[in-house]
Symmetry: C2
Subunit: 126 residues, 2 copies
């Protein structure tokens, strides 16, 4: 995802590609969702996405910031405090985030579970 778009090649004209280029990847969707709930700090995100490494979280946040979807605010305090929130553009993603979450809840999760565990579990309860 995103690959070498910044080397100003690989320009796409497909809306779907463009969108997944920005919010696809393993973590960005979840990050954006968490930031759509409220402003959050680095370690807060790290706890919520408990299986992401700090290194990866940093990278994802930097990319989202570079793409203008989130804002990074540093407070000159001790201990240091950094907050992330959605930009206007990021806010405009709300419907998309909602759609992804909605489908995930209604279809993806049940589908994954029934496919992974046993297909009979639900099949015989009919």
């Amino acid at each position: 995802m995103r690959k070498q778009r910044h080397k100003s090649e690989n320009l796409t004209e497909c809306p779907m590609e463009a969108t997944l280029d920005l919010i696809g990847g393993k973590w960005k969707g979840v990050i954006l969702f968490r930031l759509s709930e409220c402003t959050r700090r680095f370690n807060e995100l790290n706890r919520l996405l408990c299986r992401i490494s700090p290194r990866t979280l940093t990278k994802q946040l930097r990319e989202l910031e570079a793409d203008g979807l989130i804002r990074r605010t540093v407070y000159a305090e001790v201990p240091p405090r950094v907050e992330y929130d959605l930009t206007e553009l990021g806010q405009s993603l709300q419907p998309v985030i909602a759609a992804l979450m909605g489908w995930g809840t209604e279809y993806a999760l049940p589908h994954l579970n029934s496919a992974e565990k046993d297909t009979a579990s639900t099949a015989e309860f009919v």
Copy 2:
């Protein structure tokens, strides 16, 4: 994306992760969009996604099929004909696909273009 989910570890309970696990990646969104328009054949898809290699297209189609989102139909003809279309589960993605496309058209594409070409173009027209 999807990594070794089939090795029955890495189970997620996050709807967003689950969804992006299924439709994320560089190509799946576009493939699903194209199949949401109508049933299509392999080379047809390959032409529409003109920058994908046959090898990759095959892999993505197989994953989508394994995940129950698309259906693969082989016709015993000469020359061989294979058609792909959405399953019921795939159909249920329509709103999601629409949301991604919509946002891409309205925000992502303009955003990418203004960011990549010149920022001043719009800035001074105010």
